[in-house]
Every structure is written in structure tokens, then in C-alpha cells.
């Protein structure tokens, strides 16, 4: 019965995909079918995975005769169920959102194809987490990539989208190649592609080989996850896709890489090397910090969000890295704590990043621009979207009592637990990474003050923004669901931690829920009791409880009265051009971190009468993307230069060609005889 419930959604997705294509001539019908099926499927698979997770069972279904040397086998264990749960939950929300959102494309683009890809995309993500052999995994992994590539270039008439898609596809394909190598090396020792065999044989391999495999896996999946410096595709690709897809890509697709990384490193490689954890930790810290730094300089709303995905992947990697460190030192409860920190952030990031992307979709639909410099004042036109965006911003900035805070708190705890270990390097590094996390969090808050403030507050800066309208109900529902989740997973973390405990049981054979949750079920403690505790539930109650205080204070002496008047602006009537812009807002940071950004500033001044009367002043500032320009461009150019050189061998002259044959023969006769 359960396996039926596990399989059924897969077929529903398939049905949604096919019917969507079938009805593609009639967009609204196609939309109904595609997203109806997707909604049903994701809801169903959410329930199934939740029930599996709660009961802590793992499920194995196999079909024979899929391919000559493998079988089609899916295994839903704790980790898979957890990820499926997240994917499905986010999918529910984005699907609701999509019902209304895709209307934007009616008559302009093939909605049938969009529905098709949407369903297949979800299907492939779920199958990636379910696959129990390498061939299946790689097939669905690549399917996921390719389908999302098509979604990235959905607006294919835009040069930018095409470029983004290409970079995306190629980079992730390179990553896949490395993953393939990993699997092949496993295959060499197991003579099988079954993950079960990998699990058995993997940990027995030599340390050098396993370290090599670890690096391959880390780079391979890291490309997809978007860790720095392999992230360059991400800020291009995520913004180009339709917003509901961006939500899925940022929210869950890049997490499948985390899933796979955990699966391979924990189960197949038997994480027992300290430096693995250190590498993941450091790269995580780097990604988190640089991700948010670049986000700060970004004025394209969706790209800004994309950079934040890099940041959050970094934070997740911090947790995973600490877990690997603890594992190598055989501190299993702490490893479980760190794993939970990472995994919980996976879910939270899915929720708030999904929410933020959906909101950006709503904004995009209302204003047709992603440039926040052209927005402003939307809070009055789109109060709901603004509210949801605020929830998302607060969550992503890790402000209590929302969910981002809880998982970052857990990450801090695992980092500090690292500080309590006996190993000196870890003792120094872990708290320092904690400091980086602090900086990251603060900068994220800065970035979202900018994003929310410039987008929603003050006066509209363009005609588009002035004419914006609130999103239709379906979209609001989608956003609302996620906003609700941000709150719930923030305020009631103990429930989710007890779910995650099943994951660590299946992954590490360690249960920590009793050590992590106060008897009352209210507060979390980081395994080592008395070190610290957190009860967001109580915090939320406290915050609410104090609400009457200011309310009463305001009315203490006299009834509340206020006058509406224009903003004081040195006596001049306020107009949008006087407002602080996003560029200006982030400029201090840019000045402080000049070395990193290497800004190119350009000021153009024209005078009515020199030097006193300005006619106009144009200030432009671009930052240099170090990785793109210093790392990837040289590689690309080198390859192209080499190609051009090799191409000269095809001279067009038949004499040369004959000479090639001649020389080949002669060389063969001399050397190979």
C-alpha cells in the first residue's frame, strides 16, 4: 500500500506532463491538467513521505528488467523521505502559484511545454532522491539538469537567458562527468552499480582512493549546489527561468546535490577523514560569505536571490562539514547535531527562498521588471506580496523566531561544539567560521533591508511600479503556504527535529532527539546539555506577550492621534528621484570591500555652466566578478585558442591529407610493427 502511494505520484506527474503537452493548443486546459496533476502528485507524495518519515520506515521497490545490467530500484529511506517531503511541500506551493502565474505566458510562449517540463522536472527530482543505483541516479540527475535547462531558456528570445542556460548546462554537465567518474571507480571495485553494493564496498577502499572519490564527489555535486568557485552558472540561470521554476531550482534542485553528497560521503565513503570535513567547512564559509557579498551588489531582484542561494548552500555546507569532522572523530551525537543543522537549513532555505522567488515572480508579473531600482512603493499596491516578502526576508536574515534563525542557531551550536573538541585546529577554525557566519547573517540582513526597502517602500520609481497590482488569489495562496511554513518551522522546531532524528538514525545510526529536545518539547539543546538552549516557541510567545506594552504606552496619557503629513525633505517636495537607491544603499559596503569587488566607477557630469551649475550627473558602478573574469574566462579562451590552432590542420589541401595518411602508415610501420 505504501509503495503504491510512493509510486502513484510519479505516474501522476507523468500524466500531468503528457496531458499538458496534449492540450498545448488550449492553454487554460493545459494549465489545469498540468498543474492539477502536479498539485495532486506533490500533495500525495508529501503525505506519503511524511508518514514514512514519522513511522521511520524505509521502503524498497524494484522492477526487474529495466536495463541489461541494472534493475530499476527505488529506496525510500529516511534521507530520501526527508528530501521528498521538502520537494513535495515546496512543489505544492509553487504549483498553486503557477495556476495563476503561467497566465502571463498565454499566447506568448508554449504553456503546454512549460507544464510538461514542470512536471518532468519535479518527477526527476523525486526520482533522483529515490534512485538506488548509480545508472538510474545519473539518468534522472541529467534529466533534471536538461529539463531545467529548457526552463532556464524558456524566454529563449532573450540573449541573456540563452547565455545563462548554456553556462548552466555546461557547468553542471562537467559536474555530472565527475560524478560519473566517482561511480565508475566504485563500479571497478564492486562490479555493480547498485548503491547497496557501494555501501558495502565503499568504506573498505583505501584512504587515498576514498579521498579522491570524496574530492570528485565534492566538486561534482558542488557544481550543482553552487558552491564557490563553482557557482558561476547559478546567478545567471536561476533568474532567467520563470519564477515558479526559480523557486524550485533554488529551493530544492540545488539541494538534491546536497542530498547526493550526503549519501555518497556518509554512506559510501564512510566519512572518517578530518580534512574532508575541513574542506567542506572552509568552502562552505567561503561560499556563504562571498555569496552574500555579491548579493549585496546585485540590483536584479531574482539574481540577488540567486546569490543568496549560494550563501545558504554555504551555510548548509558548514553544518555538513562540521558533521564530517565529528564523524571522523567518532563523536556521533555531535555529528547528528551538525547533520540536523545542515538538513534543517536545507528545508528552511527551501521554504523561504521558495517564498521569496514566488514573491519576486508576483512582482515581475505586476511590474515586468526585475531591476529593483525601477521599483518602490509596491507595499501599497501589493500589500500581501509585500507581507510575504517581508516574512521571507526576515526568515532568510535569520531573525528570530523564524525558521532561518533556528537552523543557523543549530549551525552555530555545532560550530561551537567543534570549539569544545580537543583538536587545536578545529578549536580555532570552527569558532572563526562561526564569526564568518555572523558576518554573513548580518550582511544578509543588510541585503534584505535593501531588497525589501527599495522594492516595496517609499515612492514608486517607475511607471511600471506605479501601475502594479496585487497578485491573484492562487498566487497568494502559494506564497501564503510557504510563509506559513516559515513561521511554523521557526516556532515549532521540535517537531521537525524529531522528524530529522529518523534521518540521522538511518544515516548514522544515532538518535539524538532525546538529547536535543527538552522534556517539555519546547526547547532545543545542542546535545551537550547545559551548553545552550533555544525555544523559539517561548520567544514567539514572549514577543506576543509584550505586544500590549507598547500598545498601552502609546495610549497611556491620551487617546492615540496622528496627523498625516508629507515627509520632511529640507522643504522641497519629495519626488522619487530623491530617494535613496539600491546602489547608494549598498555603496558603503562596496567601499569597505573594495579589494573584493574591484569596482569600476564611472561618473559623467555635464554642466550648464562650469563649474557651478550641473546639468546632470550620471554615476555608474560595476563590480568585477573575480571568478568569472580571472578563472573561467582564461580557461575558456585557452580552449578556444587551442581549438583554432588545431583547426588549421584541416587545410583543405588534398596533399596534406594524403601526407597524413602517409605519415600515419610510416609511423605505424616503424613503431608498431
Amino acid at each position: 500500500m505504501q509503495s503504491f502511494l510512493l509510486i502513484l505520484p510519479l505516474f501522476l506527474y507523468l500524466a500531468g506532463a503528457i496531458s499538458s503537452l496534449w492540450f498545448s493548443a488550449r492553454p487554460s486546459k493545459s494549465v489545469r491538467w498540468a498543474f492539477g496533476c502536479a498539485l495532486g502528485a506533490s500533495f500525495l507524495s508529501f503525505l506519503t513521505s511524511l508518514s514514512l518519515l514519522i513511522s521511520g520506515t524505509s521502503l524498497r521497490v524494484s522492477f526487474p528488467g529495466f536495463l541489461p545490467y541494472t534493475r530499476f530500484e527505488i529506496l525510500a529511506d529516511g534521507l530520501s523521505n526527508y528530501f521528498i517531503g521538502i520537494i513535495s511541500l515546496l512543489a505544492c506551493a509553487t504549483t498553486l502559484f503557477s495556476f495563476a502565474y503561467v497566465r502571463e505566458y498565454f499566447g506568448r510562449k508554449s504553456v503546454g511545454f512549460l507544464g510538461f517540463s514542470y512536471n518532468i522536472f519535479l518527477l526527476s527530482m523525486i526520482l533522483v532522491t529515490l534512485a538506488n543505483n548509480a545508472l538510474m541516479f545519473i539518468i534522472f540527475w541529467e534529466l533534471m539538469t536538461v529539463i531545467s535547462y529548457f526552463l532556464v531558456i524558456f524566454e529563449d528570445t532573450q540573449e541573456e537567458a540563452r547565455r545563462a542556460g548554456f553556462i548552466y548546462l555546461v557547468m553542471t554537465h562537467v559536474g555530472s562527468a565527475l560524478i560519473l567518474v566517482t561511480f565508475f571507480i566504485f563500479f571497478q571495485f564492486t562490479n555493480s552499480f547498485d548503491f547497496d553494493d557501494f555501501r558495502q564496498t565503499g568504506p573498505t577502499l583505501s584512504v587515498i582512493l576514498r579521498s579522491l572519490l570524496f574530492l570528485l564527489t565534492f566538486i561534482g555535486f558542488g557544481t550543482k549546489a553552487g558552491i564557490i568557485p563553482l557557482h558561476v552558472w547559478l546567478p545567471h540561470a536561476h533568474p532567467s527561468a520563470p519564477s515558479n521554476i526559480s523557486a524550485l531550482m533554488s529551493g530544492v534542485m540545488i539541494k538534491t546535490a546536497i542530498y547526493a553528497f550526503i549519501r555518497v560521503v556518509y554512506s559510501f565513503l564512510g566519512a572518517d577523514q578530518l580534512w574532508w570535513g575541513l574542506v567542506v567547512l572552509m568552502i562552505g564559509a567561503l561560499s556563504a560569505l562571498l555569496g552574500v557579498m555579491y548579493a549585496l551588489m546585485e540590483h536584479d531582484l531574482k539574481r540577488l536571490l540567486a546569490y543568496h542561494s549560494i550563501e545558504n548552500i554555504g551555510i548548509i555546507s558548514m553544518g555538513i562539514g562540521m558533521a564530517l569532522i565529528f564523524l571522523s572523530l567518532k563523536h556521533y551525537p555531535l555529528a547528528a547535531l551538525a547533520t540536523i543543522a545542515g538538513l534543517y537549513h536545507v528545508m528552511n532555505h527551501a521554504m523561504f527562498k521558495g517564498l521569496l522567488f514566488l514573491c519576486s515572480g508576483s512582482i515581475l508579473q505586476a511590474t515586468h521588471t526585475r531591476n529593483i531600482e525601477d521599483l518602490g512603493g509596491l507595499i501599497k499596491k501589493m500589500p500581501w506580496t509585500a507581507f510575504y516578502f517581508l516574512i521571507g526576508s526576515v526568515s532568510i536574515s535569520a531573525l528570530p523566531p523564524f525558521n532561518g534563525f533556528v537552523s543557523e542557531w543549530l549551525t552555530y551550536q555545532s560550530l561551537l561544539s567543534g570549539g569544545m573538541l580537543s583538536s587545536v585546529p578545529i578549536k580555532v577554525i570552527a569558532p572563526l567560521v562561526g564569526a564568518i557566519l555572523a558576518l554573513t547573517g548580518a550582511l544578509a540582513a543588510t541585503c534584505f533591508v535593501k531588497a525589501f526597502g527599495i522594492t516595496f517602500l517609499a515612492l514608486p520609481r517607475s511607471e511600471h511600479a506605479r501601475k502594479a497590482q496585487e497578485a491573484p488569489p492562487a498566487m497568494k495562496m502559494g506564497m501564503g503556504l510557504l510563509a506559513l511554513m516559515c513561521g511554523v518551522s521557526g516556532v515549532l522546531p521540535t517537531f521537525f527535529i524529531s522528524l530529522l532524528d529518523h534521518v540521522t538514525v538511518s544515516l548514522l545510526n544515532t538518535s539524538v532527539s532525546e538529547k536535543m529536545i527538552y522534556p517539555a518539547g519546547l526547547a532545543l539543546i545542542p546535545v551537550e546539555s547545559r551548553f545552550s538552549s533555544l525555544s523559539t516557541t517561548t520567544l514567539a510567545l514572549l514577543l506576543l506577550a509584550f505586544l500590549p506594552v507598547p500598545w498601552i504606552l502609546i495610549r497611556l496619557f491620551r487617546p492615540f492621534r496622528q496627523r498625516i503629513h508629507e515627509t520632511w525633505n529640507c522643504g522641497i517636495k519629495l519626488n522619487p528621484r530623491m530617494e535613496y537607491t539600491a546602489t547608494a544603499f549598498s555603496n558603503p559596503i562596496q567601499m569597505v570591500f573594495k579589494k573584493l569587488y574591484q569596482p569600476r566607477e564611472e561618473v559623467r557630469i555635464s554642466y550648464l555652466k562650469k563649474p557651478y551649475f550641473l546639468k546632470s550627473l550620471v554615476y555608474q558602478s560595476h563590480i568585477t566578478s573575480i571568478f568569472e573574469e580571472r578563472l573561467y574566462r582564461p580557461i575558456q579562451q585557452a580552449i578556444l585558442r587551442l581549438s583554432h590552432r588545431v583547426r588549421t590542420m584541416q587545410t583543405g589541401s588534398i596533399h596534406t591529407y594524403l601526407a597524413y595518411i602517409f605519415m600515419t602508415l610510416i609511423l605505424l610501420l616503424i613503431f608498431a610493427r
Binding site: 583543405g652 596533399h655 601526407a659 602517409f662 610493427r673
Partner: protein
Amino acid sequence: MIAETAEQILNLLTTPLLILSLMIVGQSRIGASIRLYTFQSANLALLCFAVGYFEQEFSLYWVGLLTLVIKVVLIPTVLLYIVNKIKVAREVEQLIGAPSSLIISAALIGLSYYTTRPILEDLYVVTKDCLPVSIALVLIGLFIMIGRKKAVMQIVGLLIMENGIFLAALATTLGMPLAVELGIFFDLLVGALIMGILVYHINQTFETIDVDKLTRLKG
């Protein structure tokens, strides 16, 4: 005794093959090259008869006859007809000068002896010394194709290669089975014809048969 004489006679008949191909290498006129090829083919036919005689292999007479008909008569006629028809400059333009060509050809002959040495020890036919010669012919044929600009000369080079292969078959295995030999001759004839037609078309379109001009397809 008979074997020794046979070997001498055969050697006597083989050497001109090499000399003729070297002459073609040094030759600067198309017509003359084709005629030299004719001589070489005739020489080959002769060799064929001789081997057939010494080895009592009757089918070789047929092969020799076919060689005469196709390589001595038909193919040179076709080639000469085309050369006359398209009225190209008779001069063979060379990419590599005659002296260096000859030196390279000599090196190629050396290479063929070097390559075949281990095999020759295991060969027990009278004609075994022809094997290096045949490889040399093949290589020289290819070398001519590389070194000459005119399309017709490439055909000649190809034909010399084919003569080399024919010699190899004759020398080592007393010819292929007759049926296969027939097929090869047929292919050769058709091939020469098709190439001839192509040369004609090329001359019509490009107004030259200088293959150096056929270099538009690159990259």
C-alpha cells in the same frame, strides 16, 4: 637449379618496376608519366606470366591477360583521352622538387626492406623478394600523390600503388583467388573511370585540374 634460375629471372623482372616508378617520380610531363605507367603495367603482366610459368599456376595467365587488357590498354587510354580532351598544360607541377623526391623515394625503398625483413624469413615462395618492392611501390605511389598538383597525376600515383599491391599479391600468395582478382580489376576500372569523369567535371567547373585550387573546404 630451376628455382635459382626462376629467382634470377624474376628478380630481373622486378627491378624495372622500381626503376620505372622512380622514373615517374622524376618525370615532369603528364603524358610521359602515363606511358611509363603503361610500361610498368606491362612489366607486371610479364612477371605474372613468368610466375605462372614457374609455379605452374594456370590461373595466373588469366590474371596476366587481364592486366594487359585493363592496365596496359584500357586505363592508359582513358587517362590519355582525358588529358588530351581537357588540354591542360602538360607540365607536371611539383610540390617537392625532383632531386628531393628521388631521395625520399630511396628512403621509402629502404623502409620497405626494413619492414619486411622479419617476414621474409618465413616466406618460402620463389617470389619472396618482390614483397619489399611491392611495399616500396605502394609508398612511392602515395608519395607521388602527395607531391603532384595535377589531378591526373594523383590517379597515376594511385595506379602505381595498385600495381604495388598487385605485385604483393603475386609475390607472396601467387595472386588472390581469381574471383577476388576479377573483382579488384573491376573496381579498379570503374574507379579509374569515375575519377576520370570527376577530373573532367573539375576541369569544367574550376577550369583547371590543379588540385591545389581545390582547397575551399576547410575547418
